[in-house]
């Protein structure tokens, strides 16, 4: 099963490589990875999506917690949560396809953020499924480049991941 694990860790050199290294070292999977400092500049928030059965996920969270740089973590998929990913896509936009891209972008509530005579750059946010669906819809038109941020997420309701 796919899990989204959010980690608060020391915003220090080497911390990220320890987290990433742990996944490689113990043969765990990283599907997506997303990291940036928080409102507290001494802390970074890292969100990783990974796939594994309950036993593997239990080991992943235990080993992450064991890293000295990791302050706190939560498996967002254990409860209700919001997950978002941002994607920028350059697609061909020539002739009839130009209108088609615009219409499809509207359907997906995506925005066209840059244009040239021959292409559009589309910005879209949503969960991974929505982004995949948009790419599928754009495939016949011609996708030139894709940049995805990886999943970020937060728990619904009163639950807060902080110190």
């Amino acid at each position: 099963m796919r899990h989204i694990i959010s980690i608060l860790m020391e915003n220090e050199p080497g911390a990220l490589s320890r987290v990433v290294g742990l996944f490689a070292q113990r043969n765990y999977n990283i599907e997506t990875l997303n990291v940036a400092p928080t409102e507290d500049p001494t802390l970074s928030r890292l969100t990783v999506t990974t796939i594994g059965d309950d036993r593997v996920i239990e080991q992943i969270t235990k080993h992450l917690n064991k890293l000295i740089d990791v302050v706190k973590l939560v498996d967002l998929t254990e409860g209700n949560h919001i997950e978002r990913e941002l994607m920028l896509v350059k697609v061909k936009a020539l002739g009839a396809a130009r209108d088609e891209v615009k219409r499809t972008a509207d359907i997906f509530r995506a925005q066209i953020v840059d244009v040239t005579p021959s292409l559009y750059t589309v910005q879209i946010t949503g969960d991974a499924g929505k982004l995949d669906a948009f790419l599928q819809a754009m495939a016949p038109v011609g996708i030139l480049e894709v940049a995805r941020t990886g999943v970020s997420g937060i728990a619904r309701g009163d639950k807060v991941l902080s110190l």
Partner: protein, 585 residues
């Protein structure tokens, strides 16, 4: 108040980064460090030269420095300290760091590094040692400013020695130790890390549940590991086991955590563990694991492991619990605290099924009886000595009281099987990583700190040749370790596997052109004796042990055809064992 602060200020010393390191080690109570100088570490070496409290032992290879520090740490429970230079100095230490990591041994490794403005430039003797060691350390630090040194070093010692211990690497760019720049030095008595809070006690409710199972068990067995030794829980464990009257088996790392001469001790378990230990584990209805990690050399095939047992697992590291074998009652906590809680809960209580326990003991005694005197056949006249009888003779002659270090292979298993330990911290072996070359430098580290004890390194000619340059270190500091080379002129354990799995095709497992070990030892000014026969053995051992402070080397020729038994059958259960070249369970 104001005056005090002022006086306090006046007392603050200004020290260079290098002097801070030397001073910190003094204040931390470090007596010996092991290392090897080089460009990036020279400021630190100069600071060490200008003081006399911390003594530096100059090894002949950085790997030996880590093993010596490791040996000391295993014997004393305190962190061993290593100092090496950048690049090759640091990479040579890697095997020793990994060895300490796998066995959870407290160690602090100080590495010189090229000047900070050169980092990343592929400078002379530059290696990203933080990156290289990342998967084999508990944690690591880089010094970014000289003023950080006292606090970072305190954190390093704190992390290395608390919770589940392990090695900590501190990378120190040369400019951080420059003699011209001085900063305030205060010894930090305490440090706090917001993300590191090792548990200080186990969950009371879980401990209660475990004790309830223990009192109701019909076929219980304790299975205890290195965590009991490092967690100083041997005394409590012995008390608990004796109160309950249960059998106990230990891991290789747990040897001595319960007296092996006691009837309740079944020896150690696993791949080459005792027949009765493995049989008892397989048939148990309750396994009480304390400070052990269910590693593959213990469990054999986990899907066939202890099919009828409920499992209580006590460990200080949550990630050890249910890692390979799911625990029915997981307890995260320090062994000492949990064992003491268990003692207070069993106090005054009776076990529910004393008859079942008596029956269980009958069964265990019958297993014991089955294999008694069948473990190996002692040599007869004109036959080469058996390695097993050599170990038994050493055990007799040292009354089971020596510190015994080993390298890795057949001799290691024979030492573990035939030397009987009644105390913890006495059997010093690389269990997790299985590092050949560990034994001799580890013995050196112990002997330097325990000069009045007998320290015996049991090795083989394969392993010994990986670190034999340390004879020179022993000569420099007069280190009187006792070296027993079980010489079978082959890599015995490799050869054994080739006999069993490769139709005796001995690919590169024999040792052609061995040196004359006697002459080699004499070249360093030490005594060496060669032993070929049974008659020569006892007098040679007498000579070996005559003077505690003298290094003596015994080159003992043993039967190369001997195999280590029992040996678990791959992918089988605990009870599936080869018992000799012709018998199996």
């Amino acid at each position: 108040m104001a005056l005090e602060t002022l006086q306090g200020r006046n007392n603050v010393e200004l020290l260079s980064g290098a002097d801070m390191i030397a001073r910190f080690l003094q204040d931390e109570g470090v007596e010996y460090i092991y290392g090897y100088p080089g460009g990036a570490a020279l400021h630190i070496y100069d600071a060490l030269f200008r003081q006399d409290k911390v003594k530096h032992i100059l090894v002949r290879h950085e790997q030996a420095a880590t093993h010596a520090a490791d040996g000391y740490a295993r014997a004393s429970g305190k962190p061993g300290v290593v100092l090496v230079t950048s690049g090759p100095g640091a990479t040579n230490a890697v095997t020793g760091i990994a060895t300490a990591y796998m066995d959870s041994i407290p160690m602090v490794v100080l590495c010189g590094q090229v000047m900070s403005h050169l980092i990343g430039d592929d400078a002379f003797q530059e290696t990203d040692i933080i990156g290289v060691t990342r998967p084999i350390v508990k944690h690591s630090f880089s010094i970014n400013h000289p003023s950080e040194i006292p606090e970072v070093l305190k954190k390093a010692f704190y992390l290395a020695s608390t919770g589940r211990p392990g090695p900590v690497v501190v990378d120190i760019p040369k400019d951080m130790t420059a003699p011209t720049e001085r900063y305030e030095y205060v010894y930090p008595k305490k440090v706090k890390l917001r993300s590191y809070n090792p548990v200080s006690r186990g969950h009371t409710g879980q401990i209660k549940k475990a004790v309830e199972l223990m009192l109701k068990a019909k076929r219980p067995v304790f299975y205890t590991g290195g965590g009991v030794v490092t967690g100083n829980a041997s005394e409590g464990l012995t008390d608990l086991v004796q109160r309950l009257g249960f059998p106990i088996t230990t891991t290789l790392m747990g040897i001595g955590s319960y007296p092996q001469s006691d009837r309740q001790c079944l020896g150690w378990l696993g791949m080459h563990g005792s027949y009765e230990s493995n049989m008892a584990m397989h048939h148990a209805d309750l396994v009480i694991a304390i400070g052990a990690r269910f590693d593959d050399r213990v469990t054999n095939n986990t899907s066939k492991f202890c099919p009828t047992a409920k499992i209580v697992h006590v460990d200080i590291d949550p990630s050890s619990v249910s890692k390979t074998v799911r625990a029915d009652i997981p307890i995260v906590g320090p062994a000492q605290n949990v064992v003491n809680e268990m003692i207070s809960l069993v106090q005054g209580k009776e076990i529910a099924h004393p008859d079942a326990l008596a029956e269980w003991w009958q069964k265990i005694d019958s297993w014991r009886e089955e294999r008694r005197n069948k473990l190996y056949e002692p040599s007869v006249a004109d036959e080469p000595l058996k390695p097993q009888e050599v170990i038994e003779a050493i055990c007799r002659q040292t009354r089971g009281e020596a510190f015994v270090t080993t390298d890795v292979g057949q001799h290691q298993m024979f030492a573990a099987q035939y030397y009987k330990f009644d105390k913890p911290n006495r059997f010093i072996t690389s269990g997790g990583l299985g590092t050949m070359g560990f034994g001799f430098p580890a013995a050196m580290g112990i002997k330097i700190n325990y000069p009045d004890d007998q320290v015996v390194c049991i090795t083989g000619e394969g392993s010994y040749q990986m670190m034999m340059q340390e004879l020179s270190t022993c000569k420099q500091y007069g280190v009187g370790v006792k070296i027993i080379n079980l010489n079978n002129a082959s890599l015995g354990m490799v050869r054994q596997w080739q006999d069993l799995n490769y139709k005796s095709r001995h690919a590169h497992s024999y040792m052609e052109s061995l040196p004359d070990f006697q002459k080699l030892t004499e070249a360093y000014g030490f005594t060496a004796l060669r032993v070929n026969t049974k008659e020569e053995l006892e007098p040679a051992l007498d000579r070996l042990l005559a003077d505690k402070h003298e290094l003596v080397f015994l080159d003992i020729y043993v039967d190369p055809r001997e195999h280590v038994y029992p040996m678990q059958v791959p992918l089988g259960s605990m009870r599936d064992m080869l018992l000799s070249k012709t018998e199996r369970t």
